[in-house]
């Protein structure tokens, strides 16, 4: 877990984002427990309030559930929801790419070509 103390993104959001990624990519599986609130705070040398807030955010998104005495554990994510998350991420990334293309003055065809090339490289 990496956090940037002096970034403009609140630390709790950074933590939540990193756990979110781990859950959605399957690195953390359903039933896995997250580190304890205090333990994580101790390791990262931050306030326990911050880790609490990060976990509360993940909980409100339905990604984790708090269990009394045992801490937070990962919820079973259904395939559809995972797919939707990834779709949203894809749309965001494509929007960024289109923005860059426009600035560079690239047309749709050029962009499609670049997409094909990169897709093929990835497959190899």
């Amino acid at each position: 877990m990496k956090i940037y103390q002096n970034s403009n993104e609140p630390i709790y959001q950074q933590i939540a984002a990193q756990f979110r990624e781990q859950i959605l990519t399957g690195k953390l599986k359903a039933g896995d427990t997250l580190p304890s609130i205090r333990g994580l705070a101790q390791d990262l040398k931050i306030s326990v309030i911050t880790t609490m807030k990060a976990y509360e955010e993940l909980s409100s998104e339905g990604l984790v559930t708090a269990s009394k005495g045992k801490g937070y554990y990962v919820n079973a994510q259904n395939e559809q929801m995972l797919k939707e998350q990834h779709m949203r991420q894809l749309e965001k990334n494509l929007s960024d790419a289109i923005y860059s293309a426009r600035i560079a003055g690239m047309g749709l065809e050029e962009v499609e070509q670049t997409l094909e090339t990169l897709w093929n490289i990835d497959e190899i």
């Binding site: 403009n8 993104e9 609140p10 205090r38 101790q42 306030s47 309030i49 911050t50 807030k53």
Partner: protein
């Protein structure tokens, strides 16, 4: 939310200073920082909470059930130390051990020895003969902290514990705070005062700001970081930004200050950079505002 201490209508009248009226709730299970300039009343408040100074009016409830700080049972649950001259100057470490063991029910000699070692106090093996008056300020403070941490308490109340410590010792202290709290997760709390929050920022969960004997702001740090923003801008936009700023400092090229987050929209229009404030920057902003108000 449990409160380890509830303060209602507390005041203390001195000839040239009045503390109060103070009303506050200290959350249980967390580390609370009392932040304020010298003379703000932090030491007076802490001394009253620990029975060292008598209050003029008001009521204090500890652990949601006890109200008499003179009671030995309550005193045993609280670990208090001041920042200067806490133990007699002609005491040796051995005598500190004797006094602590007699004076409280829950003092652990072995733990005290281990803590002395961890704090690198010069302890001639087994003898502990050097008088406290010969210690440096930093070592005196480490002795006080080792003594109070060697007790099994539920609440630590420390008056400026970091002020005379070097950065490495402060880091050790922060680790000790965290260990103290996690040993009895949720049941133990810490209150400490400081006039320099930068070093203790990462062990602070809840902050209370004091000026001129009163509490001027309080909150959990995440709430405070959402309530306020740090604003930077060019000098030429200063006059436009000023009305929306809570407090600020400026020079010929730029200005910087704290504002309420709700004004972020307006402030962005004046070509400013908006950032998350650290607790240190927040403290400067809040305390500066109080100072300006006092002058008016």
């Amino acid at each position: 939310m449990n409160h380890v201490i509830e303060i209602k209508g507390l005041t203390k009248n001195y000839k040239d200073f009045t503390l109060g009226e103070i009303s506050a709730e200290i959350p249980c299970g967390f580390s609370t920082a009392l932040i304020g300039a010298n003379g703000a009343g932090k030491t007076t408040l802490i001394d009253i909470l620990c029975g060292v100074t008598a209050k003029s009016t008001g009521e204090t409830i500890y652990f949601e059930e006890m109200t008499d700080i003179g009671e030995s049972r309550l005193r045993n649950r609280i670990g208090y130390c001041s920042s200067m001259n806490f133990f007699p100057a002609d005491c040796t470490l051995k005598e500190v051990e004797i006094s602590m063991e007699l004076g409280f029910d829950n003092f652990d000699k072995e733990k005290f020895s281990k803590l002395c070692q961890r704090f690198k106090l010069e302890v001639p093996t087994g003898k502990k003969r050097k008088k406290l008056s010969k210690f440096s300020d930093g070592n005196k403070m480490r002795t006080y902290l080792a003594a109070v941490l060697a007790r099994d308490t539920e609440l630590l109340v420390l008056d400026e514990p970091a002020s005379s410590l070097d950065p490495l010792a402060r880091d050790i202290l922060c680790d000790m705070f965290r260990e103290y709290l996690s040993e009895r997760d949720g049941e133990r709390s810490i209150i400490f005062s400081t006039h320099n929050i930068a070093d203790m920022e990462n062990v602070t969960d809840y902050a209370i700001f004091m000026a001129n004997g009163k509490i001027i702001e309080r909150g959990f740090i995440e709430e405070l970081k959402q309530k306020y923003i740090l604003v930077h801008g060019d000098a030429e936009n200063f006059q436009k930004a000023k009305p929306f700023m809570m407090s600020f400092s400026g020079n010929r090229t730029s200005f910087e200050g704290i504002a309420l987050a709700e004004h972020a929209g307006m402030l962005k229009r004046f070509d400013t950079a908006i950032e998350l404030p650290t607790l240190q920057q927040l403290s400067i902003g809040i305390l500066r505002k109080a100072e300006n108000n006092a002058e008016v």
